[in-house]
Each structure stands twice: as C-alpha cells, then as structure tokens.
C-alpha cells in the first residue's frame, strides 16, 4: 500500500469493510424484526381463522388449443388440485370468467364437469367475453346462471361481507360495459348497507383502466364505483388480462388475476394481447390461483398468489 491520494490503506479497507458488514447485519436484523412484528400482528388479528377464506381462478379457456398451452384442461385440473390442497376448505371458489374458449355447449359442459371437482360448498362464476361469443351469454346462463339476475349478475352476503358479481362482457364495443340495468342493480343493492360493510366485487374485465387500448377497462365503471365510494373497504377482483396486477384508488383496491390457460403480454408489449408461448418448462410459472382471506376489523383483504409450478 502507498500513501498516494485515492488509494486505501489496509487499515482503511478493514474499517470500511466493518462498516459495510455492520450495515448488512443491521439491515438483516431490521428486516427480521419487521417481519416478526408483521407476523405477530397477523396472528393476533386472526386468532384462529379468518372470517372468510375463498379462492379465485380465472380464464381457464377450456377448448383452447394452441402452442401457448396445448393442454388447458390439464392445467385447469392442476389449478383445481391446488385449491383442493390448500389445507382448508375455502368458503367458496370464484371463477372470474372465460371458463370456455369458444362458448360451445361441449366446452361449457366440460368446464362445468371439471368444476364439480372443487372441494368447497359454493362455486361462483361470472362470464368472460369468450363465454358469450355468439349468443349474448345465453349458453353461459343455461349452464351457470341459476339464481342470477338480469344478464347473469348477482350479489350475496357471507361472513359479514357483501359480494357483488358483475357482468361486463356483453354489449362490448372496445371496453367492458355494465349497462344501465346493471348500474341500477348496483345502486339499489348497496343502498341499505352500512358504510362499514366490506364489499367485494367480481367481474371479468377490470373495473379500472388497466390498458384501454387493448380493451382492458370498463367504460361505465366510474358510475358503478361511485355507488361504492362511501364504503370503507372495496376490493375488486377480475380476470381477463391473464396476469397479476393491482391498483388502489382511494378506498377501492383492484386486483387482476392470472390465468390457468396461457399468458398474455404485459400492457402495451406488442400490438395486441395475443397468447404468449413461453419457453419449455416456464408456462406453469405464469399460471396460478389466488387465495383471499378476510379478517373482521381489517379494511384490506389478504391475497396470496400461487403458481401452478
């Protein structure tokens, strides 16, 4: 070592290494402490089990055949197995649309048969645009529309949570569309609810402007959300975009789910949202399911994404 400027003596090197080591060590300890506090806070809140636990699957596209996923039925089966292996029975499973790829009676039949494999008391669905290709959703409603209103929308209460399932895939121009009747339904549906009621909204197409150029938004969602602004916790879960994405707008949080069929490009990545063929062995990293927990007294729902890998 020399005493020339900009060189470091051995002593200085040791000193700086010690400071660096201390920084790394403190950061690790700090991270552990924060994680521990988060874990303790969670355990104290949960005290047993959450008030509501459910799972979400989306965009199974039964009937699709292409390089992006030559066996969508197989991967949907894996998704069902994954949900059945959560270690508890979810209160319900929601499929947020595009159950089928081309809305044929055979595809609806296959999807329905497969979904009887979910070990849960209730399976709910909303239609995707692939479920209403040629008939305004009639075949979808014949298969899955029992107990719904209008063109297939409905609501229910479970564990103190009000759940609204919307249909925004009919009367499509470019963006999703709810329509006057459905907006009226939402307004009336929530009118008598206290503002501290947690609200969960299911739809196929996002209720937020995720990427309008590709139709990833709903043209009259602002009107629908205006009826929900007074509620302290609103969680909107959607499919359609085949990828995990989240966004918060005030009291409303939006979560897009991934698919069990094939990935789509990220917003704006390429000219159009066409199925993406991934390298061998990578597909199941892009497919998945979602667990959702609600604990009383919490405004935010806890989401956990799981890949099919």
């Amino acid at each position: 070592m020399t005493d020339a400027p900009h060189t470091m003596s051995r002593r200085q090197l040791i000193r700086h290494s010690a400071w660096f080591g201390a920084a790394v060590g403190l950061a690790v300890v700090g991270g552990e402490v924060i994680s521990h506090i988060a874990g303790t806070a969670e355990a104290a809140r949960i005290q047993g089990r959450p008030a509501l636990r459910f799972a979400q699957v989306s965009d199974s596209h039964i009937g699709f055949s292409g390089k992006a996923n030559p066996n969508v039925a197989g991967s949907f089966d894996q998704a069902i197995d994954r949900i059945n292996s959560l270690g508890y029975v979810p209160d319900f499973v929601i499929h947020t649309g595009d159950l089928t790829h081309l809305s044929t009676p055979e595809q609806f039949d296959q999807a329905k048969q497969m979904m009887t494999g979910f070990r849960t008391p209730h399976v709910f669905t909303v239609p995707g645009e692939h479920d209403s290709i040629d008939d305004g959703g009639q075949k979808y409603r014949s298969a899955f529309g029992a107990g719904t209103r209008g063109d297939g929308w409905y609501s229910f209460d479970i564990a103190g949570v009000h759940v609204i399932a919307l249909v925004n895939t009919l009367n499509l121009k470019k963006l999703g569309h709810l329509g006057v009747d459905q907006l009226e339904f939402i307004a009336k549906d929530v009118a008598s609810l206290p503002s501290d009621t947690p609200i969960i909204v299911f739809s196929h197409i996002p209720l937020f402007a995720m990427y309008p150029d590709w139709g990833w938004g709903t043209d009259d969602a602002t009107q629908a959300l205006s009826y929900l602004r007074r509620f302290s916790s609103v969680t909107c879960l959607n499919g359609h975009v085949h990828q995990v994405f989240s966004k918060t707008e005030g009291n409303v949080t939006f979560y897009s789910a991934t698919t069990t069929a094939y990935p789509l490009p990220h917003p704006g990545d390429g000219p159009a949202p066409k199925p993406v063929t991934l390298p061998a062995g990578k597909l199941h990293d892009a497919l998945g399911i979602r667990e959702v927990n609600y604990t009383r007294g919490q405004t935010a729902l806890a989401l956990k994404e799981q890949t099919l890998q």
């Binding site: 700086h16 400071w19 060590g25 506090i37 995990v244 994405f245 989401l303 994404e305």
Partner: protein
C-alpha cells in the same frame, strides 16, 4: 466535523428513519401481501434503519451516499407507481395518506441534505 456536517448527518439519519418507519408501517398493515412490492417495502425499511443508525454513530461518508441513493430510489419507485406502474402495481396521487406525502417529503429532504453535505465538503476542501 463542521456544524453543517453534524446537521446534515443528523438530518439524513432522521429523514431515513421516518421513511423507514412509514414503509415498515405500510408493510405490516397490508402491503406485504402485494407481490414484489411487499418485499421491496421490507427491504427499504430495514436498509433505511441500518444506514440511519450507522450514519448517526459516525459512519464513513459513503453511508450518506448510500442513504441518499435509498431515498432517491424510493422517490423514483414512487414516481413509477404513479405513472407506468412498478412490478404490476400502481397507486393514485397521494394515497395512502398521509404516508405517501410524508415519504416524499423526508426522501426529498434526505437527498437535499446529502447535496448540501457534498457542497459543504467541496467548499471545505477549497
């Protein structure tokens, strides 16, 4: 050490601590469930605390650089989350309130104090 040196040292450490507390709070209260963002918040908080503590006890100058980089990086991440999104996550405006505004304020302060520190040091070397 000059008076300005002491003030910038304490100021950067305090700003990083506040930013770390805010990120840790958000992590504990829900953000940990957001993929990648949750881990990033945890890393931001723990690294901020570590650097703040070592700056405060008289660590070398590069810790201030590191502190300014953490604060500056957090500001960039904030801007991305309000514009093009970050790891598939986006938020609007100053939500969550008041954390977003507090974070931006203290992180700008940290970067600003670091600039003051650099200017002062250059002047002292004259």
């Amino acid at each position: 050490m000059t008076f300005a040196g002491v003030v910038t040292r304490i100021g950067i450490a305090a700003a990083l601590t506040v930013s770390g507390i805010s990120h840790a709070y958000l992590y504990i209260h829900g953000y940990r469930h957001i993929p990648t963002i949750g881990t990033s918040f945890l890393a931001q908080a723990s690294v901020s605390f570590a650097i703040a503590a070592l700056i405060l006890v008289g660590g070398p100058a590069w810790l201030r650089w590191a502190g300014a980089m953490v604060a500056g990086g957090s500001l960039v991440a904030f801007a991305l989350s309000r514009t093009v999104g970050l790891f598939g996550f986006s938020e609007q405006g100053w939500q969550p309130s008041p954390h977003a505004a507090v974070d931006v304020l203290v992180e700008v302060l940290a970067v600003g104090l670091w600039v003051v520190y650099l200017v002062e040091r250059r002047r002292a070397r004259g």
